[in-house]
């Protein structure tokens, strides 16, 4: 028997304060051992290693795919109707996830690079420019510096006729 050959810690040792975690582990092991011994004649090989193809589902709602039973029609309860509509759109979305693309991925990449990427490259470029470059920029090219006549993008109040 492997359990006999295995050295066991004495109770005195296990009761020590710093041995609490080991004690819990040992307790669990013995409990497992006992329960296995208790049920060993009722559990057979088939129960342990059978992988059945059957799944039991006791709910009719899940089997038959029933809808939620709380419904409202023609504005009787707007709150419920809103929830129903949300569910409907959600379902529609799930039904056809692949919408035809209006802009191809390549076009998108191109336009993205044209619009966004220059700004990114210039800001990253600053990191690698030397102080000399910076000074020259400030002194010499101040007139046609792009930042001067280029406002930072910000939100503006909509005009009344903007509707």
């Amino acid at each position: 028997m492997p359990s006999k050959s295995k050295p066991k810690l004495s109770r005195g040792v296990l009761d020590m304060k710093f041995m609490q975690r080991t004690k819990a582990k040992v307790d669990k092991e013995t409990a497992d051992e006992q329960s296995r011994a208790l049920y060993s004649n009722e559990i057979n090989e088939k129960m342990l290693n059978s992988n059945s193809n059957y799944i039991v589902e006791p709910s009719y709602s899940i089997c038959a795919g029933l809808i939620d039973g709380r419904l409202s029609f023609r504005g009787m309860n707007p709150e419920i109707e809103q929830l129903m509509e949300q569910e409907q759109t959600e379902k529609q979305r799930l039904k056809k996830p692949e919408q035809p693309k209006e802009v191809s991925d390549q076009d998108m990449a191109k336009t993205y690079y044209a619009n966004k990427a220059p700004a990114l490259t210039s800001s990253m470029g600053k990191k690698f420019s030397t102080k000399k470059d910076l000074k020259r920029k400030q002194n010499g090219d101040s007139d046609n510096h792009p930042h001067k006549n280029h406002h930072k993008a910000q939100f503006r109040k909509p005009r009344p006729d903007d509707d």
Binding site: S52, N53, Y54, I55, V56, E57, P58, S59, Y60, S61, I62, C63, A64, G65, L66, I67, D68, G69, R70, L71, S72, F73, R74, G75, M76, N77, I80, L83
Partner: protein, 232 residues
């Protein structure tokens, strides 16, 4: 879609399901049980099949047996400490914790009294334990669940409830053409309806119950005659 509908009787072995199970996983619904490697019916009624692999017996039944995930109508029976006892028509009363409502806290208890009607989801159900309900979804939101005020409440067979709950049910659509209304159908064979006036509400209840009496074949006729129910 649910098709077939051959009548099976208790004890009958269903070879067609065993055939399917050889190649893929099969979901056995109510009325079917597995005995070793065979599938046997335990209830009498038409066998239903839903693609790809779900089978169940659509037997007639009036007594509800709770199953996890079902949406049911229940009547609050009493308060018991942290729980409310709710009658859902099952062998045992179900329980619902007062924390299982939207924005409920230990201080802020929901205002629920014996006799109130609630629409709730079965959170836990097993033959060996008392069923447990909740009135919130996993995000802690109420959604469609909660107390149903006013309206009219009645019981029907579980089958009628299931017929109403199929997707695109023609019965509900037919009633919608007649009048605006709201409805809560529990899979436990309990229905709550509400329309603008009491008269309309009662007519609605009568129309739905007529479906049970008439047999489902006469659905269209009953829907056409809804006007008569309203005048009656």
């Amino acid at each position: 879609m649910a098709t077939s509908g051959t009548i099976v009787m208790p004890g009958e072995r269903i070879a067609s399901i065993e055939e399917v199970a050889k190649t893929k996983r099969v979901i056995l619904g109510p009325g079917l049980r597995r005995v070793d490697d065979t599938v046997v019916a335990s209830k009498a009624g038409p066998l239903r099949h839903k693609e790809p692999n779900t089978f169940w017996v659509d037997n007639y039944q009036r007594r509800y047996v709770p199953a996890r995930g079902d949406l049911v109508l229940g009547i609050v029976r009493s308060k018991a400490g942290d729980l409310y006892r709710v009658d859902i028509g099952a062998p045992e009363t179900a329980s619902i914790s007062y924390l299982a409502f939207e924005s409920a806290t230990k201080k802020n208890r929901p205002d629920l009294n014996p006799g109130d009607l609630i629409y709730a989801r079965v959170l836990n159900a097993s033959a060996d334990i008392e069923p447990e309900l909740v009135c919130v979804n996993s995000n802690g939101k109420r959604g469609k669940l909660g107390v149903l005020p006013d309206g009219f409440f009645f019981k029907c067979s579980l089958n009628l409830g299931r017929v109403l709950l199929r997707e695109n049910c023609p019965i509900l659509a037919a009633i919608t053409r007649q009048l605006p209304y709201e409805i809560a159908v529990g899979v436990n064979g309990r229905i709550w309806v509400k329309a603008h006036s009491l008269r309309e509400t009662v007519a609605l209840a009568k129309a739905i119950l007529a479906l049970e009496q008439a047999g489902y074949a006469e659905t269209d006729k009953v829907c056409d005659n809804l006007g008569d129910y309203l005048e009656a």
